[in-house]
């Protein structure tokens, strides 16, 4: 034990020993007594809470559940400080209006994505319309493929004279149209 005490500083630096958490002395100025317990004033308690940077009431409740807050800080400040300087949880945790708004937007987006996913998961195929689609596509696709194949015949240098630029232009034109059709199908 003596050795440990002698090298305490080094050991804490190395991470072998953890320093004991600083516990606030129970003799603090401006105490409130609530149901037999002593508490700091609202502002003093809030100063202890702000560095934690909790970003929501939920986070606060989780923190309270998992950690020791220190003497004089209530885990239910809304009750303890009611009528003694209590403003709101947002004020207590230091959540500004801006971050609140950002969070709300995020939540909305997440909800929207969820809804969209749900719609995608359960698509209802209109069989009548699908029948029409299959009929027409099986008629039009061979025609389209034939038309594209015919363009390939123009690559014969024995019969036609063209530059690389011409060929590239034709291909890029076709690809662009294809991209548009793809976008139409997967809107």
């Amino acid at each position: 034990m003596m050795i440990v005490n002698a090298y305490k500083e080094d050991l804490t630096k190395l991470g072998v020993i953890r320093e004991k958490p600083i516990v606030l002395k129970k003799t603090v100025t401006a105490k409130y007594v609530f149901k037999g317990k002593k508490y700091l004033s609202y502002e003093d308690a809030r100063k202890q809470i702000l560095p934690l940077k909790l970003d929501s009431v939920d986070a606060w409740r989780k923190y309270v559940f998992n950690n020791y807050l220190g003497a004089g800080i209530p885990d239910n400040p809304d009750v303890v400080y009611y009528g003694r300087g209590w403003v709101s949880y947002n004020h207590w945790l230091g959540i500004s209006e801006k971050t609140k708004i950002k969070k709300n937007i995020k939540v909305e987006k997440v909800q929207r994505v969820k809804v969209e996913k749900k719609i995608k998961i359960t698509p209802q195929l209109n069989l009548n319309k699908n029948k029409k689609f299959i009929e027409l596509s099986s008629k039009r696709m061979p025609k389209a493929i034939k038309a594209i194949k015919l363009i390939g015949n123009l690559s014969n240098r024995g019969n036609y004279e063209y530059t690389d630029h011409d060929a590239k232009f034709i291909i890029s034109e076709l690809k662009e149209r294809l991209k548009k059709t793809k976008n139409n199908f997967f809107k």
Binding site: L150, S155, T181, K182, F185
Partner: protein
Amino acid sequence: MVNNTQKRDKFIELAKSRVNRAINMIRLISNLANKSHYDYTPEQAKKIIKALNEEVKSVEARFASKKRGTEEFTL
């Protein structure tokens, strides 16, 4: 012997009509994407796009090959 300018004219004339025709056919197919008239599964749409893409790619390959003939043949 066919003149080079004649070959060029022929190419331009045919390319115009054929590319326009192909574009028109592609347009007709993209009409099928209209969900108020037709309905389709993502798989069906993928199939169609894939077939067209492959066709365009093969045309691109034919233009890129420097051989005189159209068909690539190797033993």
